[in-house]
């Protein structure tokens, strides 16, 4: 009986995974921007204001960076992306950072973010539920390049110095694709 449950569960998950593949599409060619359902959520920024994630989409490529205070590589990655986003700002590239620290570190997040003088919004996801449920985050550092409709163009698990060069190439490619699709 247990084996049957295992097989059924594995089959279901496999099915869901395959289903997700069938949903994959080349959104670059879309004429109108339709935001994906899993991008409809609200988080608070470090100033306490509520931000609907959908409002960040639809304009151009969006770099999403998940991080936490305890994650040293995450902070290095965020620093690297800061320079990257400023470089591509004119091409409509923007960025949002999502903090996934647990409630124990929440009080320190705002102070840290403010001293870093980051030119992009930093949202807080105190129990990491949005990161897990909407972006299937399992480890940090984790970053995504989203297309205007919220479709994932590229993703990066982990970070070592130099990885940002790959990200830079991918953003440049996406900018080019989007501009040629217009």
């Amino acid at each position: 009986m247990k084996s049957t449950i295992k097989i059924v569960a594995i089959f279901l998950l496999s099915f869901f995974s395959l289903t997700s593949l069938s949903f994959a599409q080349d959104s670059v060619k879309k004429d109108s921007v339709k935001i994906a359902d899993n991008m409809n959520f609200t988080l608070r920024n470090v100033k306490g204001e509520e931000v609907n994630f959908r409002d960040l989409l639809g304009k151009g490529p969006l770099l999403v960076n998940f991080w936490a205070l305890w994650c040293e590589p995450c902070k290095q990655e965020m620093k690297a992306f800061k320079a990257l986003v400023e470089k591509f700002k004119a091409q409509g590239v923007s960025m949002v950072a999502i903090n996934t620290d647990q409630v124990r570190s929440l009080a320190k997040v705002r102070a840290y973010v403010t001293t870093q003088d980051l030119p992009f919004p930093v949202l807080t996801d105190p129990d990491g539920s949005v990161a897990r449920d909407n972006f299937s985050m399992e480890s940090l550092p984790y970053s995504l390049i989203l297309m205007p409709d919220g479709t994932v163009y590229k993703k990066h698990i982990g970070y070592t110095a130099g990885d940002e060069q790959t990200t830079e190439k991918e953003i440049a490619d996406l900018v080019q694709k989007l501009s040629s699709a217009k």
């Binding site: 247990k2 084996s3 295992k6 594995i10 279901l12 998950l13 869901f16 289903t19 997700s20 593949l21 949903f23 959104s27 339709k34 994906a36 359902d37 899993n38 100033k47 306490g48 509520e50 936490a68 305890w70 994650c71 040293e72 590589p73 290095q76 620093k79 690297a80 647990q102 409630v103 124990r104 929440l106 009080a107 320190k108 705002r110 102070a111 001293t115 003088d117 105190p126 129990d127 897990r132 909407n134 972006f135 299937s136 399992e138 480890s139 940090l140 550092p141 984790y142 479709t151 994932v152 993703k155 990066h156 698990i157 982990g158 070592t160 110095a161 130099g162 990885d163 060069q165 790959t166």
Partner: protein
């Protein structure tokens, strides 16, 4: 938690904890064929499932993506370990296999979540096989409803913060329903008031990280209301949690408890300042003790506050805690029945470190009886230099030393204290100071130096205070990250620690710990390195723990992390809940896929 920065804080996230992070484990050595066959035989059945999932995961090009009306995301983690555990004097074979697969389907306002887990067995704690999570949720226009496995967080979690930590096998999610509704009156521009109501109800079969403790069955329901003003710059909150718990011990004897927890919270953001305050009261009634009707009562409370100031040059955060969920006047025995609910998980109020030497002996918070404070400063006023300073201290309200109650237990109660008592070991004083300077060498290269000093009382002996278990340590270290070429980088971390362990069996209570971590990356594909962990501690038979590790990215969605060697073990803490993880010697492999 570690710091090896193996590019993925994979363990660190999984372990999202204060410890062991870099104690990775072991990379493949020479395994004899017969041994390998036995190992595979042991894992055969689950391995088939894992391979099945792995193939699906591997074949995917990793875009859990959307089409008109539906989207999906998924992830998969496989963790395998094979080696020995325990002290070198009495080690045991240790094998574990953990498979965790997540899937989320979104269809307009509906979403479904599933998580399949297969421990055969798990690395720590109790094993689980089956659907660990399944829920369905509806979200639209400020309304959110979820049924199945649910969690909630009220304020900073003094009365409700159901959370899960896989590495220590702690899980306090409820099986029930959750709902929330939020509305903002945006037309009232000056005040822009808002109202948020959330509630959760459900049941939980809770297993403590201490596996000798009996299972606790919890039935809880609660509501939280937050009223915001000025675009939530001011938020006033109130909650009420009601819970019924029962603990069944040997002989089928059950102890039942009823808990009521009202609480208030206030959050104010004004310019460069932010303040938060939360206060909860816990009223407990034991309705039966070991099958006998009873009416023993206990009143507890918990307070947490934080105040922060931040501009682009200076960030200051002060936090204060005063947790008295259960200040036990007759000793700790009744803690099995009284005390903090497993769904209440407030902040620890000390720093989360990223250096292995510091986290190995981290402070374990006693949530039922502890008060303390923490101050952290982030300074970026000097170009290319980032300075982090942190200090924390705490103690218990009670001391067991001067008076004697009717049971002959020495006790002195001082539950009214608002500041920690640092001068008397009987109050379990803890303090630490930390300083770190990072110098930016340009091109994302940097060098860091840090200093840390800690003193903690682990155990107190009323009759002979001099024999109390007090540990103190001083740790210094340095860290260098350097890009050797445009696609290659290296990381070096060195930690040196002077330890004093008053409870050591050796006449010499002082010893040294050293840890060297080397890592080299060929971006973005391969990272490899090693650790050299060394001690002069007298009480342990082993003094060197070498490790090697490698991580390899497969496409953009999959990462394999393997380590081989010896891990020293230590305290693994998440959210203040700690589990002592024994030493491990062998191979660990983790495959993570994020779709």
């Amino acid at each position: 938690m570690s710091e090896t920065e193996l590019e993925l804080c994979l363990f660190l996230f999984l372990y999202n904890s204060n410890s062991l992070g870099l104690q990775l484990g072991e990379l493949l050595g020479s395994i004899h064929h017969t041994y390998l066959r036995q190992t595979l035989k042991t894992f055969r059945s689950p391995l088939l499932g894992v391979i099945g999932l792995f193939v699906v995961v591997l074949c995917s090009t990793a875009r859990g993506q959307s089409t008109d009306g539906a989207s999906a995301v998924g992830s998969n983690i496989v963790r395998v370990g094979d080696g020995t555990t325990g002290s070198d004097a009495s080690f045991q074979n240790k094998r574990y296999l953990e498979e965790i697969a997540n899937a989320r389907i979104f269809f307009h306002s509906l979403s479904v979540g599933l998580r399949y887990e297969m421990d055969d067995p798990s690395e720590v704690g109790r094993s689980f096989q089956g659907l660990r999570r399944r829920w369905i949720a509806y979200k639209k226009d400020g309304l959110e409803m979820q049924a199945g496995n649910v969690t909630a967080l009220y304020g900073r979690g003094l009365s409700m913060n159901a959370f899960e930590s896989r590495p220590i096998n702690f899980d306090s999610w409820l099986d029930g329903v959750y709902g929330s509704y939020e509305h903002s009156w945006k037309e009232m521009k000056e005040f822009e008031p808002s109202l948020r109501i959330q509630g959760i109800a459900g049941k939980l079969d809770f297993f403590d990280v201490d596996t000798t403790k009996p299972e606790m069955n919890v039935s809880a329901r609660s509501v939280n209301v937050e009223y915001g003003l000025f675009q939530k710059k001011v938020v006033l909150g109130g909650s009420f949690v009601q819970a019924f718990t029962s603990v069944t011990e040997s002989g089928n004897k059950t102890t039942s408890r009823e808990v009521d927890q009202p609480e208030l919270s206030l959050n104010i953001i004004s310019g460069e300042f932010e303040g938060f305050f939360q206060y909860a009261v816990e009223r407990e009634v034991l309705t039966s003790i070991r099958n006998r009707p009873d009416s023993a009562r206990m009143m507890g409370n918990a307070m947490y506050g934080s105040l922060s100031y931040a501009n682009t040059f200076l960030g200051l955060t002060f936090e204060y805690k005063n947790y008295k969920y259960f200040v036990h006047p007759t000793g700790v025995d009744n803690e099995t029945y009284f005390g903090k609910l497993p769904i209440s998980n407030p902040p620890e109020v000390y720093k989360e470190f990223t250096y292995t030497s510091i986290t190995r002996t981290t402070h374990a918070v006693n949530f039922n009886d502890e008060l303390g404070m923490e101050l952290e400063a982030n300074i970026t006023a000097i170009p290319n230099v980032t300075i982090t300073l942190n200090g924390a201290m705490s103690s218990r309200h009670n001391a067991y030393k001067t008076l004697t109650d009717k049971n002959g237990i020495q006790i002195a109660v001082d539950s009214t204290a608002l500041l920690p008592k640092m001068g008397d070991l009987a109050f379990f004083p803890f303090w630490e100071a930390y300083g770190e300077v990072e110098y930016d060498l340009g091109e994302l290269n940097y060098i860091k130096g840090f200093f840390h000093r800690r003193s903690d009382v682990i155990g107190y002996t009323p009759s002979q205070p001099g024999l109390s278990d007090q540990r103190s340590s001083t740790t210094v270290g340095a860290k260098l990250q350097y890009e050797t070429t445009k696609s290659q980088s290296m990381l070096v971390i060195f930690e040196h620690q002077w330890m004093h362990d008053a409870a050591s069996l050796s006449p010499d209570k002082d010893f040294l710990n050293e840890l060297l971590t080397l890592q080299y990356s060929f971006n973005p594909t391969i990272t490899f390195g090693g650790l050299y962990d060394f001690t002069t501690e007298h009480d342990v038979p082993r003094h060197i723990w070498p490790q090697a590790f490698v991580s390899f990215r497969i496409g953009e969605s999959h990462t394999v992390l393997a380590s081989y060697g010896a891990e020293r073990g230590g305290l693994n803490c998440t959210g203040g809940i700690c589990r002592l993880v024994p030493a491990f010697n062998g191979l660990r492999v983790t495959l993570t896929s994020q779709l």
